[in-house]
Symmetry: C2
Subunit: 299 residues, 2 copies
């Protein structure tokens, strides 16, 4: 492991889901499009992702044959590899565009979870369509445990549910955006509960009372070593699917998520719940991404 | 804060205190040597240091007039600015050399704590001389609190002391390197104790029974948001000063620290306790540093 591959490849660190530089969620993106995937060990990828210390580091590879994808993305946290993650997907697409100079407006990302469709919107935002949105009921014991131990005296306005969107988030809805912003959680208890039940963490959300299209959201995953994630793409998918279930929308619905204020960030995620004419419901998540660091990395 | 300065400046992320790439402690170094310090707000520096998510991000500025220094270094954690830190000092000197192409073998770093002398050694390692090594006795209450609450059943072989070397570390010596490597600490209790007593965290160390010149070391600072620091330069200064007090060396003594194994790192820090002919005792810390990421950052 101590050995270098002797390669120096393009590198970017991208700020995702914000209009204000340094106020979004960073992802490190390493361009291995010209490197044989088999020549880079899992150990090497993990060592790099541990070293960057970001919630996610991604590696762009050539797509698998016949996948129809523009690139293959491998997504690693400091401790393991993920099937999918939201802000790394948006940030890595932005990096791919800058690395390759592509003028395309739609892309397909191959990742462990499947093929994720991405679109460049008119304002330059990048959006992806969720490919996994499984809504799962929690047991009474699970619900009571989260309420009693992890949330310090916060009233929920609906029964929490588990959303498996790649990571498996427990979504909890509170009465308004301010309640969400002000909430204090017990990290130790939450971490223990998440591990016990095999969940990634919790998504807390509350609507702006003056605008049904605005939500405050927070994401906590102390069991994964992330006390509070500043801006969370997969969490926004989980929230969207939860709200569809909660409100039973019968037509398309759009909302905007603010996240990260408590961490001195200014995250903005745009979510579209799309009701197609054929009755299918699709979930789209988009936001701005900008590469703030550009250069090379020796691997 | 949302505004960019419209500047794109040189950037490096340097791996410090290891012979094996990606197995040391990273520091992000931003070259502002050509930028007026007054034109960059504290808020901007802090936003960048929060965003990189590294234990430290540093900013190189022109030195103050008449300081005699080669550069001024400002060192920020994700939450605040530090007077001094060890691995950022070594990594930033390496970055300065690469940024400027300097062939000098000795440098002076201006930082809040003072002027720190640095030397490039024959093997390319970079060393600094500690400018602050205050040994402070702990109260019985402090000692008992640390032993009872933070350390889970680990026997100490000497009374712990507080070492103010910039950060203020409590140094605890255990019987051997293996005991140190295997130790489990209670992060919650330790974090509470550190905050209560106003200490940065604890340095745990144990000698290799087969070689008095080898130590295993670990650094814990949960109160500062760092559960365990992979490789800690200031901690090695603290340990050196503690060992001088403990063994009362009457001549120069050299030892090598291994650190970070539990975190899948391979940190190596070289320490020289120098007894000058005039009776003065100086503490020198050195290690390898290599820039793994090189490029630019938009600020």
């Amino acid at each position: 492991m101590g050995d270098m591959l002797g390669l120096t490849v393009p590198f970017k660190q991208v700020d995702v889901f914000t209009f204000n530089p340094y106020k979004g969620n960073p992802v490190a993106v390493i361009n291995l499009l010209d490197v044989e995937e088999s020549s880079v060990s899992q150990e090497k990828l993990q060592a790099i992702a541990t070293w960057t210390n970001l919630s996610e580091t991604t590696f762009l590879f050539k797509p698998s044959e016949n996948s129809g994808a523009d690139y293959k993305l491998r997504i690693l946290t400091p401790v393991n590899e993920l099937p999918f993650a939201g802000h790394p997907t948006v940030g890595s697409c932005q990096a791919f565009i800058e690395f390759t100079g592509s003028a395309k407006k739609s892309f397909k990302q191959e990742c462990i979870a499947g093929i994720v469709p991405l679109t460049v919107l008119e304002d330059g935002s990048i959006g992806f369509q969720a490919i996994r949105t499984s809504l799962i009921d929690l047991s009474d014991n699970e619900v009571e445990s989260y309420q009693a131990k992890a949330m310090l005296g916060i009233d929920l306005i609906a029964r929490p549910k588990l959303l498996d969107v790649g990571p498996a988030w427990v979504v909890l809805l509170v009465k308004d955006n301010k309640t969400c912003y002000d909430a204090e959680v017990d990290y130790s208890s939450l971490g223990e509960l998440s591990k016990k039940f095999g969940h990634c963490g919790i998504i807390l959300a509350g609507q702006d009372p003056s605008d049904e299209h605005k939500y405050e959201m927070r994401a906590f995953a102390p069991g994964e070593g992330v006390l509070e994630d500043p801006v969370c793409g997969s969490g926004s998918v989980a929230l969207a699917r939860y709200l569809q279930d909660h409100f039973n929308f019968n037509k398309s619905f759009h909302f905007v998520i603010s996240q990260g204020g408590r961490l001195n960030r200014a995250g903005r995620i745009s979510v579209q719940i799309e009701h197609s004419s054929d009755g299918a419901i699709k979930y789209h998540v988009s936001g701005k991404a900008r590469a703030l660091v550009s250069g090379t990395i020796a691997i």
